[in-house]
Amino acid sequence: MNSVFDSRILNLVIFFPLLVGALVVFLPKDEKGQIRAVTLAGMIGSFLTTVWAWSRFDIHSPIEFQLEYRLQWLSDVGISYHVGVDGLSVALVLLTGVLGPMVVLSSWTFVQERVKEFHLALLVLQTAMFGAFTSIDTMLFFMFFEAVLVPMYLLIGVWGSEERQKAAVKFFLYTMVGSVLMLLALFAVYFLSAPAGARSFDYSTMYNGLMGASRELAGYLKANPDGNGVGLTPVAFALFRYGPWLFLAFSLAFAIKVPMFPLHTWLPDAHVQAPVAGSIVLAGVMLKLGTYGFWRFAVPLFPVAARQYQLMFAVLAVIGIVYGALMCLAQRDIKKLIAYSSVSHLGFCMLGIFAFTPEGATGSAYQMLNHGVSTGALFLLFGMIYERRHARLMSDYGGIARVMPVYAAFFLIVTFSSIAVPGTNGFVGEFLVLLGSFKSTLPLWLSVTAATGVILGAAYMLWMVQKVFFGQVTHQENLGLSDLNKRELAAALPFIILIAVMGLRPQPFLDVLNTSTERYVARAMYASGDGPADDRQVRVLVRQLPRPTVAAAAAVPSMMPGPTPDGLPRPARAMMVKPLQPLQPTLQPGQAQVLP
């Protein structure tokens, strides 16, 4: 049931917020109400587009990237505008869409300065995140991935708390460091994955180009674990020598974003200083760019290296779970506590990703959504009380349940979701991740250590809840706090509904996620020989580039060296690539052998 719109939906999803932004630009600066209303309407509209995309996603389809759209763009260097969604990305797109309106509602009265710029930043951020989750072209992904930084930097740096500048700079530089290395690694993969003339930044080209070499390398390493790589074809040899480095370069970029221990210290600072809206987006969506990156790029492109470093990353993930939880126990600042709890929760996501089991991967993907909902809700709710009191320390509160009972009830429900009480969404994710970890080849003690996160999570969250909500009201100024108003209820209620729905009816979500899980695990295992033997199951199949323009088309036949690895014509840019050929002359013959 293809509709003519299907290939256009994602464009709408990505650029709708930007269009709304264009509208906002023309609104007068002082009409704050109008700006807010238009942005809110735009965010709701944007949310509806993501729902549309979600509803058009067909879980029974054998096609990996659905709603695909591809356009000629910078083809001279092998880049195209290529978007599409698989199960994981469509889920993350939906999550981003859901959070949009809440973010606007949460800042309705909180942000009073530079209102127009604030909402523009939110809208641009939305577009950038949608773009990052839907890009199939790695360069396009990289651009969106970096584009996310700018509005977030502004959100923290302009609308943040006292030390916002410092936190914003730290956030920006920290994430940039990783990105630069990733960019270098991307270039390396670009040259490695295909012979001159066929090179492309497209994910399909990169993955399909390295696939055979990874398999060869894995077989070689199985036969001679201490081999020096002699006898490998050139690409496989390059993977043998440089694969781990490339993998680590990708991983560093994404691990900073996640953030994994020990690269997490930017997160508490950023969260503490960020305005509520920034915190919600940061925790809710941006951190998932890291896990998503591991899932989409770091692991599938370098399955052999990923297997070699599996234990290391799993250990770091488990350290993250336990360490993050212990950090929470040492905090006095509520926002910092929630930030560290993110480190702990994302540890579960990473453990699931590096378990390389279907349960673990699905659980990890689901945990990404859960964390977006529950931590997003925590920041949202905390923002409400912060707006009233402008205090972040637990000791500034106490006995709030007496003054704001509805608020307390909401907070408590979200807390239960965060500590994964069965029946809430958190449980399904955590259960699957831990089960996946137990079923994996990881040592059992590691999984058991990870499971202690279940205890520690309850310990720090309930401790915080008690400090803030229970006991007598200890501060005079807390006595007069008003309970939630209608706007705040409207912002918080969807989260509560999501928590219940995702906890009790997780299967519709899991069905969508499972479609990418299967491929992810197959790709991770493919190279080690444990996965499916048939490479058709893991090969990335995408839409061909649309026919080039007439003038370029005339040049194609003579320039085409033959069918390209993924069967896609790569016209027009061969001329540009040709001079580069001498740089990698040795790769040429090997390439021909590896690729059918």
Binding site: C328, A458, Q466, L510
Partner: protein, 725 residues
Amino acid sequence: MDKLQAFFQTAPVDPTQAGHALWLIIALPLLGAFICGVFGKIIGRANTNLVAISSVLGSFLLSLLVFWTINDFRATSPSPFGGVAYAVGADFGTWFHAGSFKVNFGLMADHLSGTMLLVITGVGFLIHVYAAEYMSHDKGYWRFFAYLNLFVGAMLTLVLADSLPLLFVGWEGVGLCSYLLIGFWYDDPQKAFAGRKAFITNRIGDFGFLIASFLLVLLVESLVARPQSAPGGHVSAAYTAAIAEKGPLAFSVLEETARNLPDLLDEKIVTGPLSGTSYGVALTIIMLLFMLGAAGKSAQIPLYVWLPDAMAGPTPVSALIHAATMVTSGIYLFCRVSYLLVLSPTAMIVVALIGASTAFVAALIAFTQKGIKKILAYSTVSQLGLMFLGLGVGAFWAAFLHVVTHAFFKACLFLGAGSVMHGNADEEDVTKLGGLRKEMPITWATFLVSTLAITGIVPLSGFFSKDAILHAAHTQHIAGYHALQTLAWVLGTLTAAGTAFYMMRAYLLTFEGERSKEAKTPHAHESAAAMTGPLVVLAVLAVIALVHGLPIMHIQRGGVTVTQTLMENFLDPVFRTTNELIARRQYLELPKEHASMAGPWLQAWIIAIVSGGIAFFLYRRYLPAKGSFPGWIEPFRKFSFNKFFVDEVYEFFIIRPLGLFSRALHKVVDSIFIDGMAVHGTAWLTARTGAVLRYLQTGDAQMYAAVMALAASGGLVWAIFKVMP
């Protein structure tokens, strides 16, 4: 008589359809919770009471129907292995599945869950009625009833679930409600803390539960992956089909797993993460982890510390959650998976020993406590310990019978304590009460009946259930652990004596003698009918539940007439697999012939009478005459009164070090090492390098040209050397 029997064994509804209505039993209290919680404030107190009570009553009536239905021989719950006899059930579709793992929303009521249903909804209903009066002055009534209804819903989920993960929903759900209800009066930080303590201690248990579940999945999968060539061959096709259909953690699958295991216990697992260990060892570890889970929920050593503190909650809560229902979940769990437990003698003896020592220690602490609810709380811990002793020695029906009788008399005791507090301006200290017999006659009478029941005086129900456990501990032997089991039995018997002592003490101090001078009110008043009514009903139940303990069923088994108690006979369908496995592996040596019960009964009776008599002498004769106990006994009393300082030990050795450790970690590792040295160090280094390199950027063109020339000539020299051979 036959007609009566036929009447009760004919289901009032179609047994094949009844399973599809099971969800209603859970849904009613949940709906009640929703209405009370969201609209309770708007609809007012009376309506809230009505909603809360009627939803549980509705559940109770439905449970009665279900209970009636499962007595019908036609009642068969659908199962992948051809159906479960004397049960109704239904599968309501997938909850979640990923990879090869799956969980369904499957509910089932057999004789075990059916009995639990009646206890939960029946006692629950009575306690709701009681609570409506008890909480009649509390502003948070709507919150209270929302939590209480939610609890009933969660507890019903726990007993109706037909798989471990769904059971876990109820398992954590009741823990959650317990947390909310203990901390119900959250203004008091101590009460809020007690709630948190309960939840986190429970979570430690749940950690064990979860890991046990995961390991069980691994065990099932390695069983499926066993090579065809291995002795015993492959598992049946029905087994693999059942795993695909119901998931590896459904009870039907686990039961079949247990049937597959007996001959493999010594075999090494060769596939999967468990490879290297034998099936038997893996199973033992799993069972011990389940014991950790059960220890959390059912307040056993080492996790019992939360239950006494849980008395911070309103008294109806203590009666319903912390005496009658939630804390028995651990026993229910082990009854459910009894077929796995009997395959591991090591796990059995550990369960028995933990139970017996908990029972003994808690009884010792109960000797000197002053709060009436505290005494009852330790008494609960102690009685739960006895139940675990029963589980450990394979007397599942006896342990479960004790669950039922204990639910009646302990709920009655707690409600009686609540009534006492209600009539005495919330005075809890038994030493400041006294002489209530005249002033609160109904409370007195019911409290006395229940005290006698828990003490084990013939012919009250507690006598039969407790004695059945001790008798089994004495006569059924766990293979290879005779000495340890004797120890467990001795501890159990001492506990029985201790129970008589501390309960008699509590009763005497509260109801007999003169009214204490320190009493808060000069005169107590008897509670309203809404409170005394449930007391009477529960006291009556505490008496007539004795029927279940009578050996009146004579059945033919293998040509021999076997005498069984009513409960044993009733639960027979539930424990059929378990009994088969016991017979097959002989890990449990059952007595060859049924000895007469008269001797042990007399023995138990004497123990109770003597011990109760000592208490009577001490607190009615000795103490009033002398005024205080002899000096040499005081240190012991203090030690017991301070609960053996277990809380302090935990605080000192676990909680504080953990807090210190995390603070140190934060200060040193996070702030100094990672953020300070690594992150800011890098930034500093970059800035310094930039500052140094800045001096190279002089803008002096001649300098640049000179460097260029130098480099170029250097390159040239290198090239020349390279070219030369």
